[in-house]
Each structure stands twice: as C-alpha cells, then as structure tokens.
Amino acid sequence: MKRYGEHRIPGRLFVVEGIDGSGKSTQLTLLHQWLKAEGFGVVFSEWNSSPLVKDTTKRGKKKQLLTPATFSLIHATDFADRTERNIIPLLKAGAVVLCDRYIYTAFARDVSRGMDPEWTRELYAFAVKPTIAFYYRVPLEIAMKRISDARAGFKFYEAGMDLGLSDDPDESFRLFQGRILDQYEKMIPEFGLTVIDATQPIEAQQQQMRQLVLAKLTQARQLRVAP
C-alpha cells in the first residue's frame, strides 16, 4: 500500500475544498471546461459517488443511522473504492483528474464531529497527494447568504443536526460550518493548501486557478520529454 505522498504517477490531480457556498464547484466546472477545450484528457471524480458504497451511505443518512464513527468510516470506504478503481488507474494512464472535495473535507467534518484528528488522518493514508489542493476561503456569512439564495433548507447531516448543537437547522448549520471553517484554517499550513480568496469575482478566481494549474501541466509535459 502506497501512502500519501509516495505515489509516483504521471497524471495530475487537482482538488477543490471549502465549505458549502464557497463557490468551489463553480470554479472546478469552469476549470474542467477549459481543460477539455485545451485538449487535455480530463476526468471529474465526485465525492460520495462510489456505486458500491453510495446506497449504504444514502440509506444511513436517510434513516439517520450514522454515528460520527460510522459516518467517518463509510465515507472513507467510498473514497477508497474511488481511489482504487478510479483515481489511481486514471492517474497512471496520465489523465488530469479533478475532485470536488477530497480527504480534507473528511478531516474537517469528522474532527468537527469529535473524531480523533490523528486517527482520521491515518485512516486516509492511502490517498494520493494532490498536485494542488485549492481551498476556497470565504467568511461564513457570505457562504450562508449564497446558499439561502440558492435553495431552501439544509439536510440533516449537512447541518450537523446529529451533533445536537441546536434544534434549528439554520442555527445548527451555522455552528457546524463554523467548526468546519476552523478545521480548514488549521489544515492550510499542515497540508499546504493553496488559498483562493473566494470573495473575489468569479472570473478573477478562475484566472488565478488556471495559471496555477497550467504551471503544473507545462511542467508535466517537460518532464515527459526530458530524459
């Protein structure tokens, strides 16, 4: 089993992280379109999408059967399936892989639910280290505003209702996302996350993202040519 940082594979892995309403998915979609247009072999891998595990997770969430421990482990199982069957083979084939949320999402959520931080990190030791992990940093109030404009109500686990922080879903969401923001801030130096100011105009953020990504792709081309 190769550990985080030990994989030597030709592909490139770019991931976006941030709380809901940070605009990270929008940015990743725009990056995806651009890379396709530029002619790169690019694949999108979503959080929580393993066909084998997804149904269990969905059922566990719907019936509220999940504790912090099983919430953590079932997401790790899903991620492992995607890593073993999807992400690693694609990277070996030299693809550019894009992930909307990665292991840092799990660290932020699990630790906010009271799981041991060291335990949680070691749980994901099999993950491939991303070429760049972008963190879309946004103040909680702005994120809340964006979300409430876009949809009505929060889901049970999304709002951290399982933690009993508040009976009011909006208030619970605010408290839980606040904890998650604190966790992200701690992870910036720990994992070398690339911070993007997500309060900037969408175009400015995208331009910054494309520059950083392009630098890694040119490097990769040169690597392939050089002896």
Partner: protein, 268 residues
C-alpha cells in the same frame, strides 16, 4: 473499567460497561460457531444474558458487504474499510449497549480477524492497526488454532473451498486447492503473530468439540466469578477529549441509541 486500543469514539462512555466481552477467534472452519452455540446455551442455563454477534452482521452495512462480495469487485483497501464500518456499527449499536446492560457478549471473530485479512492482503500494518484502535479490549480472547493440514479435510468434507476463504482475489491461479492452502497458511501465520501481540489464549482446535467446550466454559466461568465488578461511583466521568478539541456533546443519547439498535434488529 473497559478500555479501547487508544482511540475513544465520541459519545461512547466506557465507565459503566459491566458485562463481559468474550471473543472466539480463529481461521475458517475451526469450529467457532459450534462453540458459540454451545457456550450460549450453557451461559443462559447459568442465568447469564448473552448476545452473540459476528462479522458482517451490522444493520448498516452487513447486506451491502455481502452483495459487493458476490460481485467480487472490491479493492483490498475498500474491503478493509467496509468491514471496519460494519465493526464500528456493531460495536456502537450492539456490543456496547449489551455490555452496559450487563450481558455476556460472545463474538464470533473480532477486530483481529480483520487485521489478519488485511495483513495477508499486503496492506500497511500501521494503517490497519490504527483503524481498529477504537475497538474495546475484550475480557478474553480464545484463539481456536489449527494447522493447514488438519483444516483442509474439514473444508473438503463440509462446504468445499469457498471463493473468499481461498483468497482467490489474491492469487492469480485457477487452482482452488492451491489457493486455499496458501491463503489459509498465510492467515494462520498472521494469527499466530497476533496471538502474541494481543495475548490470546490459544486452544488446540483439533481436539474433540466437547473437550474444547469444557475448556472454554471453565475459563469463562473463572472470568465471570471474578466479576461482576462493583458499580462505579455515580460521579460523572469525563471522557478525555483529543488534544486541541472542544468536547463535542453526545450526538445521540445512549439509551436512545440502544432502542434504535433493538428496533433495527426487530426489523431485520
């Protein structure tokens, strides 16, 4: 007071787990389920309430694991994590509530089997041990040990060679016999190491089932006579939070959690 192997799960108080956790470990076909059936009957006759449980029986993922294994499509890491999820679900929703209620919990295999399987599949020893650090330390682990040469006739004359018990996912051979032999030998080797590391009581599984039962029941009787431990003082026990973390309130009250477990079992 019971303890874990180093990591405590949020909301899992360990101070009032007055029951006994007894593990029967061993490779495939050593007679674990026979012994558990005999022990359960005997313990109940003695007036002890018994919960018997085993791997892949959780309400949350048990069925999904079975379905996924039928397709033979799980990666090694994924399978290990699927089992760990199942284990955590049973620990929180069955084993701990039963121990709190004073049951004798008999478990057919425990976290050690999962560690052994992962090791045979070449996974990182530190990684798999870390995952299972939330497991409760049992009151006793009995390891029914058998050599591969004695095991093979048992497999042949009972169920034949099962796909997963032969580790066909591991070896690129069509030869089930050869594969079974290699896989079970590798498992036994891992179990022998774990037996030292975790201080199992090793029992020769070649013996007559009745003799094994007598040995086990005597050992368990000694364990039960030593207890029950007097109830802990009523003062609230504060679980140590991981460093640098705020104490997170219990997500689901324990009583409610065991009710849910009961409901789920009834539905199953």
């Amino acid at each position: 007071m019971k303890e874990t192997y180093g990591v405590s799960l949020p909301g899992m108080g360990l101070y009032d787990l007055v029951g006994k956790l007894i593990v029967i470990e061993g490779t495939d076909g050593v007679g674990r389920s026979t012994q558990i059936r005999l022990l359960k009957e005997w313990l109940e006759q003695q007036g002890h309430a018994v919960l018997d449980t085993g791997l892949s029986r959780s309400g949350l993922v048990g069925k999904s694991i079975k379905r996924a294994k039928e397709g033979h499509t799980l990666g090694r890491i994924t399978l290990s994590l699927f089992y760990a999820t199942d284990f955590a679900d049973r620990l929180e929703n069955e084993i701990v509530p039963a121990l709190r209620a004073g049951f004798v919990v008999l478990t057919d295999r425990y976290t050690y089997s999962l560690i052994a399987r992962a090791m045979v599949r070449g996974l990182d020893p530190a990684w798999i041990r870390n995952i299972h650090r939330f497991a409760l330390k049992p009151d006793a682990v009995f390891y029914l040990r058998i050599g591969v040469d004695e095991l093979i006739p048992r497999a042949v004359f009972s169920r034949g060679f099962d796909y997963w018990e032969s580790g066909i996912d591991l070896y690129s051979t069509e030869d089930m016999y050869e594969s079974f032999r290699r896989y079970q030998s590798a498992l036994i080797e891992q179990f022998d190491k774990l037996a030292e590391e975790f201080h199992f009581e090793v029992i020769d599984a070649r013996a007559d089932p009745q003799a094994i039962f007598e040995h086990l029941s005597q050992a368990i009787e000694r364990l039960l006579v030593a207890g029950p431990k007097p109830a802990q003082p009523a003062a609230p026990v504060v679980e140590a939070a991981p460093p640098g973390l705020a104490v997170v309130p219990d997500p689901i009250p324990i009583a409610e959690r065991s009710e849910r477990a009961v409901e789920r079992r009834e539905k199953a």
